[in-house]
């Protein structure tokens, strides 16, 4: 089978994700990577809806819907309960959007990371509050259209460097990934599965309606994000440094990435140059692959 992926599915069809949803595809493969013995903890986010209304569920593994600000706290509890009951082999995975991670769930995340709780925190970042109708979050990039930033997000507010913040908590493992780079995606989930302690995975997940792209472009666009350096694929290596896990053969300008989405259509040439400079600055920090 392709990339030695299991044919067992833990995501059911009939889920309520939009056509071409990056978060749904990411969940499908995250669970294939982690396997049957996984408990998923979901705060308020797109996935609260995608998972289906009571009494249905889109997952064939246990899923806990928890309040917006509490994903990391609840996951800590689930982990401790599992240990108490002797189920050390069960994975706990938080599956939160950027709102529940960068903004509302931030202190719970910081607390769990600080206590080095043994679970995997996955933030599927679609760069705004998509579930409630595309309001900006602190993960929204500069210049992007949302309903609360109709002229594009102000350049005074850059996308929060969450990787940098979580890194400051000394996690066991940390990485960025996106499902349009499947080998890299699976390798990182495998490392997260094997790591002991707090693990943070930052996934870029395309949102066709929120990013104003065609549903069939949702893989292409996240590949452009990586190839342009807007979303570098990195991980914490054994020496405790962030390292690129993939370096594009021929990097493309961020302009190509930005022009692939209508949420960036009002950017001026100066804006694009600024974003190009920001991307280059960010990438300089990481060790070469």
């Amino acid at each position: 089978m392709l990339w030695n992926v299991t044919t067992v599915e833990y995501l059911n069809s009939g889920h309520l994700g939009c056509p071409g949803c990056g978060a749904s595809l990411s969940m499908r493969h995250a669970l294939k990577a982690l396997g049957e013995k996984t408990v998923v903890v979901i705060p308020a986010c797109c996935w609260s809806i995608i998972a289906g209304p009571f009494p249905t569920t889109a997952l064939s593994v246990p899923l806990l819907h928890v309040p917006f600000a509490t994903a990391a706290a609840c996951a800590s509890g689930v982990r401790r309960a599992l240990i108490t009951k002797g189920h050390q082999d069960v994975q706990v995975m938080v599956w939160a959007g950027d709102g529940g991670t960068f903004d509302i769930g931030f202190q719970a995340l910081s607390g769990a990371a600080d206590r080095n709780e043994d679970f995997i925190y996955v933030c599927y970042d679609n760069e705004a509050y998509m579930n409630t109708g595309v309001q900006q979050s602190s993960a929204t990039p500069c210049g992007a259209w949302t309903t609360t930033t109709p002229g594009g997000k102000d350049f005074a507010y850059q996308k929060k460097d969450l990787i940098g913040i979580v890194l400051g908590h000394h996690p066991a493992y940390i990485a960025t990934a996106t499902v349009s780079f499947p080998e890299d995606f699976y390798l990182k989930f495998e490392k997260a599965r094997k790591a002991h302690g707090f693990t943070f995975l930052h996934l870029l997940a395309a949102c066709p309606p929120g990013w104003k792209i065609d549903s069939q472009d949702s893989l292409k666009v996240t590949r452009l994000a990586v190839d342009s350096g807007v979303f570098p694929l990195i991980e914490l290596n054994e020496s405790g440094e962030l390292q690129q896990t993939y370096r594009p053969d021929s990097p493309i300008p961020v302009k190509t990435y930005l022009q692939s989405q209508k949420r960036f259509k009002d950017l001026s040439d100066e804006d694009i140059e600024l974003i190009q400079a920001q991307a280059e600055e960010k990438n300089k920090k990481y060790l070469p692959a």
């Binding site: 992926v5 059911n12 069809s13 056509p19 071409g20 499908r28 249905t56 401790r80 240990i83 069939q216």
Partner: protein, 528 residues
């Protein structure tokens, strides 16, 4: 993490009091959301479109890759009755269009075809499904005539082939040197074809226009592909014993008649010139090519030109022989630099002299028979096309056979050749593979005899080459669409024949990711 003291835990409440979803979302028929539906539609691969006889390369590569050699051969023979020959001498139009060229290395289609062709040399063709009473004559047993004979015989027609020489093959036999096409391979391929279909063969039949006319009253139809039997002789070279025509020379060499003399010059830049030069080298002659344009402009096939250079045969580019004078049993050539002018290529002022024992002309062929196509008389091969490749000649043979069958049986619809709709492929998720190396016979061994320059592929190499083929336009159930479906709505049928995928239209939301990722361009989104 330390185990928490059991006693310190608050006893949990009854879990059954909390709402728990226990049924799946599969009851949501999300397929009703969609505006577009993915449709599986096989396309024509660009290699097939480029192939004059439209070999179904994507299909036979797929079956070879599955280890089904016989099935691969059967598919190849659908369109090509001479694969061991074309696998050696075809200029490989297909390879220039291979989608894989954009990724790492194009598929070495010709070498795989040759492997399959060699495998088929001893495997007879299946008998035609029905025998028919009509008889058709074919004039000329070159590639066009043989292809016509094959497509007619396969339809059950009784075919008789008339050949001028003592043995069949036409230019294949006496125009192509053994280092490109060994006689043994030619004999086996032709014997197998002729014997499988019981094709009548009348050799040593020198046809004239009148005789061909006569044939058309004896047979229901005649397909005429006698080739271009006359070599062009520019006036200034006429009347000299030591001036030879390239094809005549090749013919003599094939018969074992080696011309006297040590120093040879060949005028021309096509395959005949290169074949003549390389053959003479193998008989220990000193040989050079004189060509009026640049080396890059020589119309000989690129591989042949490369071999020419490797074997150390010099090419005097942009040179014209303006005059020849016999001199002490040799020929003295006046060679001028060729200059492009409005009148074409003309001799420039600068000239030099050189002496050769024999001057070989390879400046083109022209017809030796004038035949006008008419009812029941069809024309093909080089006589129709002008000098062309083996495979292009074969294409005319197939067209001729199709036209004859149509005329014999106007009710029957002509077999529809696939429309050249290119398969738009996405190579993003195709893993790169290490390029394959083409082995070639060592230079010393090559120039000292007529061993094949290209030793061909072993079975393992052919398999590796076939494994590189994406089978553009054909679903192989590779699984990429399944992998990238966010709605778990694609099932793979790897065991099916042909393999494929099924789409759960009750749940598919029509996002189109399957169509985007498909590396073979088989899925198309259609508006509901």
């Amino acid at each position: 993490m330390e185990i928490i003291n059991q006693d310190s835990l608050v006893a949990p409440g009854d879990l059954n009091e909390a709402p728990i979803s226990m049924t799946t979302t599969e009851g949501n028929l999300t397929g009703s959301w969609k505006f577009f539906s993915p449709c599986l539609q096989e396309k024509v691969s660009p290699c097939r479109t480029a192939c004059p006889i439209q070999n179904n390369i994507a299909e036979y590569m797929y079956f070879l890759n599955q280890g089904e050699k016989d099935r691969a051969l059967e598919i190849l023979r659908e369109s090509n009755p001479l694969p061991a020959i074309t696998g050696r001498v075809c200029p490989r139009f297909c390879q220039q269009e291979c989608n894989r060229l954009q990724l790492d290395q194009g598929v070495l289609i010709g070498s795989v075809e040759r492997f399959l062709g060699d495998y088929g040399l001893k495997i007879p063709y299946p008998a035609p499904e029905k025998k028919r009473s009509e008889r058709v004559a074919v004039v000329g047993s070159g590639p066009a005539g043989l292809a016509a004979a094959y497509f007619l015989a396969r339809a059950g027609i009784q075919v008789t082939v008339y050949e001028k020489e003592a043995e069949p093959g036409g230019l294949l036999r006496w125009g192509i040197p053994e280092y490109r096409l060994p006689k043994d391979v030619l004999r086996q391929e032709l014997d197998n074809l002729i014997n499988s279909f019981n094709i009548g063969l009348e050799c040593r039949q020198d046809m004239t226009s009148e005789k061909i006319e006569a044939l058309s009253s004896d047979y229901q139809a005649v397909f005429c592909a006698p080739g271009l039997g006359a070599s062009i002789l520019p006036r200034e070279f006429a009347g000299y014993d030591r001036v030879r025509q390239g094809l005549d020379l090749l013919y003599d060499l094939q018969q074992g008649r080696i011309p006297e003399g040590r120093r040879f010059a060949v005028i021309g830049g096509g395959n005949v010139a290169v074949d003549a030069a390389r053959s003479l080298l193998r008989y220990g002659k000193e040989v050079e090519i004189i060509y009026r344009r640049t080396y890059a402009e020589m119309p000989a096939y690129p591989d042949e030109k490369r071999h020419l250079s490797e074997e150390g045969i010099p090419v005097q580019e942009q040179s014209l022989v303006t005059d020849i004078t016999p001199h002490k049993g040799a020929l003295r050539l006046s060679v001028s630099q060729a200059v492009k002018s409005e009148q074409g290529i003309v001799p420039g002022p600068v000239g030099s002299e050189q002496e050769v024992d024999v001057l070989v002309l390879a400046v083109g062929q022209t017809e030796h028979l004038r035949i006008e196509p008419k009812e029941r008389l069809f024309v093909g091969g080089d006589l129709q096309l002008g000098a062309s490749s083996v495979v292009e000649a074969m294409a005319t043979g197939r067209q001729g056979a199709t036209a004859i069958l149509q005329q014999l049986d106007p009710e029957q619809e002509a077999p529809e050749l696939p429309a050249p709709e290119p398969a738009a492929v996405n190579l993003t998720y195709v893993p790169r593979k290490k390029p394959l190396l083409l082995r070639e016979t060592a230079l010393e061994e090559r120039v000292s005899g007529f061993v094949e320059t290209d030793p061909g592929f072993s079975e393992d190499e052919a398999q590796l080459a076939a494994a590189r083929c994406l089978s553009c336009g054909k679903c192989t159930a590779c699984g990429l669409c399944w992998f990238f479906c966010p709605d778990v709505s694609i099932a793979l049928e790897t065991e099916a024949d042909p393999p494929g995928v099924t789409i759960d239209s009750e749940h598919c939301k029509g996002c189109g990711l399957c169509a985007f990722v498909c590396p073979r361009g088989v899925i198309r989104m259609e508006e509901d």
